[in-house]
């Protein structure tokens, strides 16, 4: 069976790099599965889990990502992963916080940000739970 090279990179580090025969990613408009020699595709992905079938191993490889972009080329796949949970509201809240920090030169987190942060933490927790769920299902 043919293979493709998968790379998961974030701003902070290279998260995963290796060969795969099949990959499932949580795209913005629904999960998509990719086999080698797929037509070039560019899409955004939601916070969730990437699943890969790796040659020579029955175990699937799981990589949890907090959103980002998926670039598919016939022989290689790149995931530009976000390091932080992103979203319009959250970015807005962060922006307001940065403004306030500049105005007051204070480091206190404000209510606005703590709510947004809580949301983000929740999203991460959900992504992790999804990964766990998936693992459990596979065991049974």
């Amino acid at each position: 069976m043919s293979k493709m090279h998968v790379e998961v990179v974030s701003t902070e580090q290279l998260i995963y790099s290796g060969e795969a025969e099949f990959l499932v990613a949580p795209a913005l408009e629904g999960e998509i599965g990719v086999y080698p020699r797929h037509v070039p595709l560019l899409t955004r992905i939601k916070p969730g889990v990437l699943r890969m079938t790796v040659p020579g191993s029955k175990e699937e490889v799981l990589v949890a990502v907090s959103g980002g972009m998926l670039e598919v080329q016939p022989t290689h796949i790149t995931v530009l992963a976000d390091t932080a949970i992103r979203g319009e509201d959250l970015d807005e809240a962060r922006a307001n916080e940065a403004k306030r920090a500049a105005e007051e030169s204070l480091q206190h987190a404000t209510d606005d940000l703590s709510t947004a942060k809580a949301h983000a933490a929740l999203a991460v927790a959900i992504a992790q739970l999804k990964a766990l769920d998936y693992l459990k299902k596979r065991v049974h």
């Binding site: 560019l42 955004r44 940065a98 500049a102």
Partner: protein, 288 residues
């Protein structure tokens, strides 16, 4: 016999300072290695985003994203100033600030108003002292550059640019060349200059887009700019540790020299005191 008690106290105090500077030097040495690794780890992402962006720009020449807009007249500019949070790192921040003030002056001479975004405690303190208009800041960035802390301040600037309040955005940071050499660097972030969009592919092909090209372009442009700033911050942190290591090495050496000199003075004083006492005894004995 209590000769030169003050000198002894002084020696002891210099020795204590030397212990501290030596410890700081060693801490910086180990941190520097880590910060340099982090600096390198950030590169693949930036390159990848740039490649995809270049391809997207080539395939869809007219995307019309507000962040890609080019302005002929610059009325208001934003500058991101990156510094360390802590001091004791030689001339690192001062050199960056000099570069920054030179740019500020150059822009002010052209009647351009300036908004500043500060990353790092020292930058915030300096710009407030200079009474510049600080629109956003992030301090206490720690030893590990975190994207999470950058998103807020950057969103402020990029939103202003997209809304047409800013006509250009620059970033000033201390570029890491090697352990002994750090160079204050200034780069233009916005508007994106053609070299940001190097196109390598000659044959034409296009992606399937989901949901559509413009929204993906927006995503990419933002991520690209963020990764450039992240890279700058990571480099600044590596520079900080390197500069601190060198500064603390110099301080430790200087303390060593001072101790040597003080010892010499102390020994001389002690010797003189003994000689005086001896001659007094001899003179006394002769008088009897």
């Amino acid at each position: 016999m209590a000769v030169g008690k003050e000198i002894l106290t002084k020696i002891r105090s210099v020795q204590n300072t030397q212990k501290i500077t030596r410890a700081m030097q060693m801490v910086s040495t180990s941190k520097m290695r880590k910060t340099q690794e982090r600096m390198r780890a950030a590169r693949p992402y930036a390159e990848k985003v740039r490649t995809v962006m270049a391809h997207l720009a080539q395939a869809n020449a007219d995307l019309g994203h507000p962040l890609l807009a080019r302005r002929d007249v610059v009325k208001r500019a934003g500058i991101i100033l990156v510094s360390s949070d802590k001091g004791l790192c030689g001339g690192l921040n001062v050199n960056s600030f000099k570069r920054f003030y030179a740019k500020v002056k150059e822009l002010q001479d052209q009647n351009v108003e300036i908004d500043v975004c500060c990353l790092g405690q020292k930058a915030l303190a300096a710009t407030q002292r200079a009474r510049l208009n600080v629109v956003a800041s992030a301090v206490q960035l720690g030893d590990i550059p975190k994207m999470d802390k950058l998103i807020g301040p950057l969103t402020v600037l990029f939103k202003q640019y997209a809304e047409g309040e800013l006509d250009a955005v620059y970033i000033v940071y201390s570029g890491f060349i090697n352990t002994m050499k750090q160079e204050p660097t200034i780069e233009q972030l916005l508007p994106l200059t053609p070299h940001h969009m190097v196109v390598e592919h000659s044959h034409s092909w296009d992606y399937l887009y989901e949901p559509d090209a413009p929204s993906l372009m927006e995503f990419l442009v933002k991520r690209y700019l963020e990764s450039v700033v992240y890279q700058a911050l990571a480099e600044n942190m590596a520079s900080e540790q390197a500069a601190r290591m060198v500064a603390m090495k110099a301080a430790t050496d200087n303390a060593g020299n001072t101790i040597k000199q003080l010892r010499l003075v102390y020994n001389k004083a002690r010797q003189a005191a003994i000689t005086t006492e001896l001659s007094e005894i001899v003179a006394g004995a002769a008088a009897v």
